[in-house]
Amino acid sequence: MDIGDCYVGWATDEDIRTRGASGGLVTAMLAAALEKGLVEAVVVLKKLGEFEAVPIVTSDPEEVKAAAGSMHSVPIVLSRYLEYGTKVALPAKPCDARATIEQAKRQQVDIDTTYIVGLNCGGTMHPAVTRKMLETVYKLDPEEIAGEEIDKGKLIFETKDGEEHAIKIDELEEEGYGRRESCQYCEINIPVMADLACGNWGVIGDLAGKGTFVEINTEKGIKILQNAIDAGAVEITPADDKGKAIRAKVDGAMMKVAAAADEKYLAPIEGSHLDYYMNALADCINCGACKAVCPVCACGEGAKCTEFSSASDTYKMSLFHLVRFVHLMDSCIGCGQCTDVCPVDISLTHIYQRFARPMQEEFEYKPGMDMTTPPFFGVDLLEEGQ
């Protein structure tokens, strides 16, 4: 088994294989990691209702097996749940993985003891939006939903009666439904930065739906997969080239869609930028939620953005936001959390991205993709300048 290899795998355990998505490879792998002591803890997405799952930390393999993924899970701020150095494995969408890597750069997570099992992601949906969409567009009772998937540009809901209801994502998103805005223009669908990249894209033939396509990206990736195989928890077979090609094709298609969304949402601001941003932030109530959820912010309660800024400032804009802008310019991964939690509905991710994009391009730096030091903190690139 080598870095770069691609396999299709599935859980040997009947129950996991049938319950877990795509043959339950990931679930089985995580459980095995716990059982064999490769890790002390696993982060699983505890499902609290059809449309919401929250990450919880567990050291109980049974809880891992019981949990199943969800399209609506929020990006994971690992350091909020774990002490540095904990041996942990977590399932991670690309943004989760990038968040984790950024935290590792800030010494909040020990990358060497953290196994990131990446999951392909075509985007996530906000529970509230999803419900509204089901009621108004699909004309379905949210409580009747049994499952969902994205296929061929369509968002498909399966109701408990087994019926499938499909609508084109573009149409949905035209009307402001569908995936989170940040997901719509996110161009990373395959978690190449994680230790393993898992998903159902590229699983074809009679394995379709019964197996998970897994690409090995790191030594750690080999470790956790091999561990599961040795434990007899999973079986794998080399992925065939046709499968690889299809996977790449799907990825390519998604990237095109993302590029289009980028054009749409991040088109240059018309008129005065200052007015644009002042209006955008006018309703800020200084709750601090955006910072609290930010996965690339390592600071605690005390931070430069909060310490030197106060609700009592008589400023036209809040120093808090301006400092956040600077700090995020190289580091924002566009995960969408700040927008999600903003009580006055400021599209913060959108704003941060407007500041971050040009900087990340100038420094040819994409946060969360590897352990490169963020330019703002970088010293080595200075030396080049000398």
Binding site: S272, H273, L274, D275, Y276, Y277, K304, F308, D313, T314, Y315, K316, M317, L319, L322, V323, F325, V326, M329, D330, R354, F355, P358, M359, E362, P375, F376, G378, V379, L381, L382, E383, G385, Q386
Partner: protein, 150 residues
Amino acid sequence: MAEATATGTTSEEWQPKIVMFCCNWCSYGGADSAGMGRFQQPPTVRVIRVMCSGRMDPVFILNAFLEGADGVIFSGCHIGDCHYVNGNYKATIKYKFLKAMVNELGLEDERLKLDWISASEGERYANVVTEFTEQIKKVGPSPLKPEGVV
């Protein structure tokens, strides 16, 4: 208008207020040399001394703008001459960020300036101040200036 009294000039012409951060070893010395050489310049600049341009925290500059600064200059030793090995290189990176930030924010590009001034460049210091002041007069008072401050 109110700003006229800000710098107490009798002239009706609006005088901007500029915050300038100088490193202790070069630029602050340059400011002193300007004095030694009696190089006259408009009384628009308020100098704040830090030990090294590497100490130049974006928070300071952003705060200066929010306070009402019409322009901000930060200045250090010429590249290669840093008293602290490479503090001014680090300042250069921060400047890149701030410049991009200020531009995206929609503040006029002219309002933020980084310049290397050595302790011996008194005349140059005066020129920098004078030219920057003229530049700011052209763009006018900062749109971020809070009401009522002078």
